[in-house]
């Protein structure tokens, strides 16, 4: 959305500005503009219509390595929650709760979420998919990928990356499903990273 309701105030040769929407208006180089819709601050880079949003600091990671406990699938092609305990890494704006990252109140916004994991054969020769669960819901399109393991090639890696809108109290966790049978699987290694986009 283009800039609307623009209000400007001079500060020497630059402007401090507020409005609604992503900026597309002309301002002096170095001017600041706040999009009131989402609280994003932009800086003008060219004295014209070029604006760059400033990065804000909110991030977290959780991980585990060498897990040996299997995740129960129960039903073919149905998502199952992965309940392995996370170790919380460096974090601002999140806490960790057992198998989830939890956004702290006040840190609402769009977040880049990245997951890399290794699935481990348990029984059978099957295709598995691993995806992002927000608030315990099934992964949606664009938030999962898959791999195959069997008794010979027992471990393979799955990764995916997405952007989700979160509000305080929202949780991020991992689901897995077996495309071929109801055989269980082990999520051997997993790293989840979230950062305010």
């Amino acid at each position: 959305m283009a800039t609307t309701n623009l209000i400007s105030k001079s500060l020497g040769d630059v402007l401090t500005e507020s409005g609604n929407g992503v900026p597309d208006h002309t301002s002096p180089l170095g001017s600041h503009y706040t999009d009131k819709d989402n609280g994003v601050l932009y800086v003008n880079l060219d004295g014209a219509t070029g604006w760059q949003p400033l990065s804000t600091v909110a991030y977290s990671e959780g991980y585990y390595q060498d897990n040996a406990a299997a995740t129960t699938i129960s039903t073919q092609n149905v998502w199952a929650p992965v309940g392995n305990n996370l170790t919380e890494g460096l974090s601002i704006g999140f806490s960790a709760s057992t198998d989830s990252l939890v956004l702290i109140d006040g840190y609402d916004g769009d977040y880049e979420v990245r997951v890399n994991a290794t699935i481990n054969y348990n029984v059978g020769a099957d295709n598995y998919e691993l995806g992002l669960s927000v608030n315990g819901a099934d992964p949606v399109a664009g938030t999962y990928n898959g791999a195959f393991v069997d008794s010979t090639f027992i471990r393979e890696q799955i990764g995916f990356e997405t952007i989700v809108s979160l509000v305080g109290g929202d949780t991020l966790s991992i689901d897995v499903r077996n495309i071929d049978t109801s055989a269980n699987v082990i999520i051997r290694h997993m790293q989840i990273f979230a950062r305010k986009a």
Binding site: I7, K9, G93, S95, G106, G159, H189
Partner: protein, 248 residues
């Protein structure tokens, strides 16, 4: 924290403050830190119309890559489950600094004798460090772990995959948040886990073919004038500091 001055710009406010902002303000309001107890200052933006202020930081990113390495390595010459520098397998593989890297990052050769990505900035910072690698196997299957090594220590996070029995290629990725100081360095690392027996030397040759290693700054600290102490986690909400463990 004291508000030194303020102006309104429509519905929001711009504040000059002398410490980390903690006051209630309209969402999108901006606080500029000055006249402070810190050696540096940041701009903060209000994220919720309450008392949550997010620090704004400048961009810093670096990356190195290895492309189309051609020298194969005998899996049998390595010690299973030990970690090796990806770019030392084979020795002398040449990496390139990504041209989009900012000035705080350099391609160097530290005490590893291999190519590394070194942080040359003057202050401690946190970065999300990511790598993706490609391995090509031989005519017997092989199993590898790969991860990012920090100052030539064993990776804390890694993933794992197999190359198949027909010279198959496999890709792996991993990532981790690290707190880095001046001249800390990163390198891609590889651990040979297991391989199929038989077949002779020619069947167990593998190729550490491609790799991309990147670091993007996600946080930087305030620096106290009185003690030069860095204050990076201003809210103290959470966050255990996880040091790498060198088990070598």
């Amino acid at each position: 924290m004291a508000i030194v001055s303020q102006i309104s710009v429509g519905d929001i406010l711009y504040y000059q403050v002398d410490d980390i902002p903690t006051h209630t303000a309209p969402k999108g309001s901006v606080a500029l830190m000055s006249e402070s107890i810190y050696d540096n200052g940041f701009t903060y933006i209000n994220n919720d119309g309450g008392t949550t202020w997010l620090k704004c930081i400048c961009q810093s990113k670096g990356g190195i890559s290895l492309t189309n390495a051609t020298n194969t390595v005998d899996f049998g010459s390595l010690t299973p489950t030990s970690w090796y520098a990806f770019n030392a397998v084979p020795t002398g593989a040449s990496w390139a600094l990504k041209p989009s890297s900012t000035s705080e990052w350099a391609l160097t050769t530290q005490d590893t004798g291999t190519d590394d990505l070194t942080y040359t900035g003057s202050t401690t910072m946190r970065a999300i460090v990511s790598q993706t690698v490609t391995l090509r196997g031989g005519t017997r299957w092989m199993n590898f772990e790969t991860g990012v090594s920090y100052n030539f220590t064993v990776p804390l996070n890694w993933n794992e995959a197999y190359t198949g029995q027909n010279d198959e290629t496999v890709s792996q990725a991993s990532h981790h948040i690290l707190e880095m100081n001046t001249n800390d360095y990163l390198l891609s690392a590889l651990s040979p886990i297991n391989r199929q027996g038989g077949g002779g030397v020619n069947s167990r040759q593998f190729l550490a073919k491609h790799a991309q290693l990147t670091a993007v700054r996600i946080d930087e600290p305030l620096i106290l004038q009185s003690s030069a102490t860095t204050l990076i986690d201003e809210t103290f909400e959470s966050g255990d500091f996880n040091k790498f463990v060198d088990s070598s």
